[in-house]
Amino acid sequence: MQSIPILRTAAGSKLTSLIRLSLHQATVLCGLVLVSGVLATECWRYLRLDAYIDHIEGNVVIGGWLLVHGVPLYALQDGITQFTGVYGPLAYLAVVPGLLLDGPGVIASKVPGVLALLAALGLTAFRFRRGPPMAAAQGLFLLVAGFAAVSPTSFWTRPDPFEALLVAAALATAASPICVGICIGLAVNFKIHAFLYFLPILMELWWRRGWRAAPPLIACAATTFLIPFLAPGVSLPDYLATLKQVVGGRSHTGALLALVSAYSVAFALPVLLPLCARQIPAADRRYGVATLATLALLAYPATLSGGGPYQLLPLLPILAEARKRLRPDGIGAEFAVFPLLLFAAATAHVALAQMQERQTWHAYADEALALAREAPPGTVDIGYGDNKRSYDIAELVKTELSLHGNPRWVDAQILMELREIGVDGSRRWVPYLTECRVGRWLMPRGEEPFAVRSHFYDDGLVFDDAFRAAFTANYHPVAESAHFTIWECAHDPS
């Protein structure tokens, strides 16, 4: 194969041989540098943006912030979840340090997720420092390209970057059943099915140490899973009830099948091709096969409604480990990560455009906060209009209001989740309107009130007719600001 002598010095053949790259290797390093630059740009732009790019991020932040201020996390209302989705308590608590250190705000809440991504990358790079440099570079290439391919989910304010970090930490401590158990317990606390990501590590542990590794591992996993439920305001029975309702009622959706399949193939190729290409030690072959089997297994949660390719993200550190062990050789195996870069380019393009569009959105939150300060604390909430853009803005404004003394009364995001399992969640909130418990509603100006649709699922109306009728019967518009119409109670609340 043609080689590029980058440096020839008399200092010694060792240094020269270290940096003497084949054309394939130079192309791979070029890809690694380029995709690292794209991921870094996305992270930086995300951190500087005073808005979220996903509608659930704000709800995670509100849940964590209100929990540390004494509001129960998994409160049930008429037997169904009030606001909280399927995540475990650590998903909400993980964002709190940013808020406590830098004060309540959107940017502060994003810092932990981005740090988790950087820590996962740093930990893996540190662990890969031993062994052949090019094999390490190939492993890192897959990790960075994979993170970029599913951006912004690899650094958003939801559990996924934290789970990737825990898988990377388990790999770093894979020889210790106790440490692996701790990582699994924490990850399962974030998301109940997260133990799936650890299957290749567990397989190897079992192969090396047999069933002796099981008792300490299971004990540590169970203990660390349960510890966050000891916090005040976190109820294990209510969490399990919510989980049973919201996950148990979900079905698979064909809409996600094509996308998840395409990502699965792109994630599998960098391990599959080296696995086929050359003679490799049996232990490494076993690890590669276990990794691919786990990837196939993850298609199940990824194709449930509300899922997506981001469900594959925490497996990336293990895919990278498998690729490093298999030492790709030959053009197909060496270049197998490049298809992921096509995904990375497409998602980065969309994510950066979204961030650009949302740069001015925080002005809505500033305006809403000013309007809220004119009313007694806790009596103001933002309502919803009739399109997706105003829905996303409302979720951002709701977060800022909740972080600054006006906790949410209603929320359309949880209604979408409930609607997906056949539950009308808005009916229970009708008394808030008939009794005028919310003193002031900030409604998107010029839009039909509460006509938002379930944009991520069936496109049906999120608030039912009874709720919308109660709103127009009990409230009337009293003033307008730049972006909002202010609605107040039309009768004496008493």
């Binding site: 194969m1 192309t27 890809g31 995709v35 053009i331 270049f335 490049f338 380019a345 950066l352």
Partner: protein, 40 residues
């Protein structure tokens, strides 16, 4: 050189080999180009 002593690198190149190589170079260059466009 006898057949037994021939190294894998010296194996005869087939049309399939060239197609396989061209495919991967195409993907790699295309992907690098697309990523560069994002950064630019």
């Amino acid at each position: 050189m006898t057949q037994a002593k021939r190294s894998p690198a010296a194996a005869p190149r087939t049309l399939g080999h060239f197609a396989w190589t061209a495919l991967w170079w195409g993907i790699a260059i295309g992907a690098l180009w697309q990523l560069a466009l994002v950064l630019l």
